[in-house]
């Protein structure tokens, strides 16, 4: 039995990264390296106002003072921050207003990925703001959203058109001094998405962005800012695929969410950056700072993530529950295979009264990978009657991988209830046998069990994404998933 299991895992290990290809777009690049001039170059290139340049420079100077954090449960060779190109923009004709106007080469890239813009536009009604190598090239359904007063555009555009909103909120949740990689991002961020939902508006469609790393040696420093005004609702999707390459690439994004009174933000991620080959060469370093604040009463922020890619994933989507009765949720499936490393989890900071949070984290480790859950639930003295429930389950496939849990629980009042539970197990031979008995072969049985294991999280994804996420689970654990 074990042999069969092992061989299916071996197949997993041998399966290639399906989305690995490089498209030739003549990128307009900044020279390698990082200094104040590069930051001025980026800022000038993007025709940014003076305050933003100063904001970037301040972050850069802070970054110089910070040290790269070492506390996480991941190892990687030292990153040479002077060997990275901090800006590259794909060539494009001036001002494409419709999808038909964009670079045909780019379009073919998306077709290969199976994200045909036209098809998505026609069939699913999803507005897609596509980011290829740091510059937004096409935005659809914009007019329809504009009718409702919803602003959904690239952050560069928002800086030009809505500077007051950007200036008010950017960096308010993740300040430029927050941590090493947030400071780096603040100094050099190239582009990203901006979304503003006005008071009382329920966004009629799922907003989505496809990120994609393209030119070689280009670190991507995305910055996303979502603001949900009083009583509004938005569901935002983020998905990533990246081409295969040998050198490690750094991805240090910052995402900030702001939910005001009675607003709700649902943020879903399917992350599938190139994980490196089976010997652990190459792959993306995904060092992301994601944080949301439930600023107003009765607000809600929900993070859902399916993490299958990246050589190293290091992120903790967090919620600051400031408004009374606010709710924070975190649902995660993290899959690691071969030499992948993941150190992920969440922070729930209960500040307001009657705040609630729920954490469901499912880790699947295979090959020689390491998968860690690291989370904090903090209940402040004034957060009376707060409630938290956390569940972290790990599934081990193979005897060379590791699963780790580091939950921190801090409670400072007596009326709150915090519960945490975690289990670690492997797929039982009796479970496989039970399936075999009923004519289900081992491979399908493993797939069945893994799907069941991750289902609680998958159910949280919007339908369009759930399909893709299941495909990704299958690809990253191919063989054992079937």
């Amino acid at each position: 039995m074990n042999d069969v299991l092992m061989s299916t895992i071996e197949q997993t290990v041998l399966s290639d990264y399906k989305y690995g290809f490089v498209s030739n777009i003549n990128a307009e690049e900044a020279p390698k390296g990082l200094n104040e001039d590069i930051i001025r170059f980026i800022s000038a290139k993007k025709q940014e106002p003076q305050w933003l340049l100063e904001w970037r420079l301040k972050a850069y100077r802070q970054w110089l003072k910070l040290e790269e954090p070492k506390w996480s449960n991941v190892t990687y060779p030292a990153i040479d921050f002077q060997d990275i190109i901090y800006y590259s923009a794909p060539k494009q004709r001036v001002g494409p207003n419709s999808i038909d106007e964009i670079d045909p080469e780019l379009k073919r890239t998306f077709d290969k990925l199976g994200i045909s813009l036209d098809e998505q536009k026609r069939l699913t009604g999803v507005a897609v703001d596509v980011v290829v190598d740091s510059v937004s090239v096409a935005t659809s359904f914009k007019e329809q959203l504009a009718d409702l007063g919803i602003i959904f555009c690239s952050i560069s555009e928002a800086i030009q058109k809505h500077p007051e909103l950007v200036r008010k909120y950017m960096g308010s949740i993740v300040p430029p001094t927050d941590n090493y990689f947030a400071a780096l991002n603040s100094a050099v961020f190239s582009d990203g998405s901006f979304c503003y939902i006005p008071k009382g508006i329920r966004c009629p469609m799922e907003l989505s962005t496809y990120f994609r790393i393209n030119a070689e040696n280009t670190g991507q420093f995305e910055r996303t800012l979502i603001i949900a005004e009083e009583g509004s609702y938005v569901s935002y999707l983020e998905g990533c695929t990246a081409p295969m390459r040998d050198e490690n690439q750094l991805h240090a994004a910052v995402v900030e969410l702001i939910a005001l009174d009675r607003a709700e933000i649902k943020y879903s991620t399917v992350q599938n950056w190139y994980p490196g080959d089976k010997n652990g060469n190459g792959g993306i370093y995904n060092f992301v700072t994601k944080r949301g604040i439930c600023q107003g009463v009765n607000s809600k922020i929900s993070w859902t993530q399916v993490e299958t890619g990246s050589a190293i994933t290091w992120k903790y989507p967090s919620v600051i529950l400031k408004g009374d009765n606010s709710i924070g949720e975190f649902y995660s499936v993290a899959v690691t295979n071969n030499h992948q490393q993941a150190d992920t989890g969440t922070k729930m900071m209960h500040l307001g009264k009657n705040t609630k949070s729920r954490i469901v984290s499912k880790g699947i480790s295979a090959g020689v990978s390491n998968n860690s859950y690291r989370g904090l639930v903090h209940v402040n003295k004034n957060a009376v009657n707060s409630r938290n429930f956390s569940q972290c389950d790990s599934l081990l496939l193979g005897d060379k991988c590791g699963a780790h849990t580091f939950p921190y629980i801090e409670v400072k009042n007596s009326s709150s209830v915090v519960e945490h539970e975690a289990t670690t197990s492997k797929i039982g031979e009796d479970q496989i046998f039970y399936c075999n008995q009923r004519g289900i072969d081992t491979e399908t049985a493993v797939a069945l069990i893994i799907n069941g294991f991750a289902k609680e999280v998958m159910n949280q994804l919007p339908m369009e994404f759930a399909v893709e996420a299941q495909k990704l689970l299958a690809i990253s654990l191919e063989g054992s998933v079937g």
Binding site: D399, T405, Y408, I409, S414, S416, V417, A422, T424, K426
Partner: protein, 444 residues
């Protein structure tokens, strides 16, 4: 030796008296390590929630010669635990082991000053096991104890012997002439197929402050069995870092219960290392705190070999401005297949100013294992309270009943009857339970 000193300055400048052999070299290395690491700060992960630098800036008496401390057997009498008539009693005064004040009634139990034991037939055992806790506790505070191993105790239980009389260890701190700083050290060796029960407790006499940095290393050989009870109910002016490091060298069984009721800053390190397959260990802890008491329980269960079993349950009732901390680590090494490891931590907060910090941590490198941990923090169950009140109990009675039941889960694991009823009454006092509301403690 300087009788009074700010201990940080003192140890920073201390010149060690020459000691030969293993103990000497161990001390020398530890001294260097302490000089390099210094006192742990809250920036270190292991000390994130417990700040002890403040304790090091005070002035203490350092006792290096027992004859200068006027402690008599009569002083100890008032503090003896029930059942002492049938127990072996070991006494440490201000961290120094006193053979004169001790009472050994079991002939199978050998008790010697460590320095003396190191020169005869036990030299090999000591060379092999002394200082092993340093492999797990790589901080300055453990090194500090090792650097000043002095008047330590060595206990050896002969193989194939079941010790009928438990071993009571009293740590006596005399602050009648000022604050004391003590560093008791002991090494316990339980021979093959032997069995013993150890009870350890701490008493501060006088109005001064006592600060204790204790290390006890216990080696459990094949087929041996250990029951270990630690009772911390010292004065509110007493602080301690108390380490118990248990190595299970062969298929063996250990059982420990830690009860923390009072003190200033209390840090407990309990390590259980399974160095052979089919080891079993049960770890229980109860902390009932109020006032400003700060209790930090750090436990480690390290599954180095396969087929081991561990079960851990720590419970806390935290009132006043007290802080309860639980950090439980379970390691499952690469070859430790078929490990079963369970851990649970439950806390009740009784006041708005109390704090609980918990970090139940699993690190697993083998796939064929069953591991789980759970952690809860909350207040008394409203529905249970209502149920009891609807049957005519007052709110106070209902609360005390629920709290006693909560503590009972741990208390029933104290197998020494006299100690169990003693601890049970201490807990009733702590929870301010009226005598007639007490649940009978003779649980059979």
């Amino acid at each position: 030796m300087n009788p009074t000193a700010n201990i940080k300055d003192y140890f920073d400048q201390a010149v060690l008296p020459e000691t030969k052999g293993k103990i000497g070299s161990l001390r020398k290395n530890a001294q260097q390590l302490y000089t390099r690491l210094g006192i742990p700060t809250t920036k270190q992960e292991e000390w994130k929630y417990t700040r002890i630098n403040g304790l090091f800036s005070k002035t203490y008496q350092l006792t290096s010669d027992l004859s200068k401390v006027p402690v008599s057997s009569g002083d100890i009498d008032a503090l003896r635990l029930p059942g002492n008539a049938n127990a072996n009693e070991l006494v440490f005064v201000n961290g120094l082991f006193s053979l004169e004040l001790s009472k050994i009634i079991s002939k199978d139990l050998i008790v010697l000053p460590l320095e003396e034991a190191a020169t005869d037939e036990f030299s090999e055992t000591i060379a092999k096991h002394l200082g092993h806790s340093g492999h797990y506790l790589k901080d300055g505070i453990n090194a500090l104890n090792t650097a000043f191993v002095q008047a330590a105790a060595f206990l050896h239980l002969k193989k194939n012997k079941v010790l009928e009389h438990p071993v009571y260890i009293y740590h006596f701190f005399d602050t009648r002439n000022g604050n004391t700083f003590s560093q008791p050290r002991s090494l316990v060796h339980i021979g093959e197929n032997a069995s013993m029960q150890v009870v350890e407790t701490f008493f501060t006499v006088g109005t001064g402050e006592s600060f204790t940095n204790q290390v006890m290393e216990i080696v459990v050989e094949k087929d041996a069995r250990l029951e270990y009870y630690k009772i911390q109910n010292d004065s509110s002016e007493s602080s301690q870092v108390s380490t118990t490091h248990i190595r299970q060298l062969g298929k063996s069984y250990t059982h420990s219960v830690s009860i923390s009721l009072n003190g200033n800053i209390v840090r407990n390190n309990l390590n259980v290392i399974f160095e052979a397959d089919h080891c079993e260990s049960h770890l229980y802890g109860l902390y009932c705190l109020k006032g400003q008491t700060h209790v930090d329980n750090h436990t480690v269960v390290d599954n180095v070999q396969p087929h081991c079993f561990s079960n851990e349950l720590y419970k806390g009732v935290v009132d006043g401005k007290a802080t309860g901390i639980f950090n439980g680590k379970i390691f499952v090494r690469k070859d430790a297949q078929k490990t079963n490891a369970y851990q649970s931590n439950k806390n009740i907060l009784l006041s708005e100013t109390a704090t609980v910090n918990a970090k139940p941590q699993l690190e697993i490198f083998a796939d064929d294992v069953k591991c789980s941990h759970g952690c809860t923090v909350g207040s008394l169950d409203e529905e249970a309270l209502f149920y009891l009140r609807s049957r005519g109990l007052s709110l106070d009675q209902a609360r005390s009943l629920l709290l006693q039941a909560f503590a009972m889960d741990i208390l029933e694991n104290i197998h020494l009857e006299s100690i169990r009823s003693h601890v049970s009454s201490l807990i009733s006092q702590r929870l301010e339970i009226n005598e007639h509301d007490r649940i009978r403690d003779d649980i059979e």
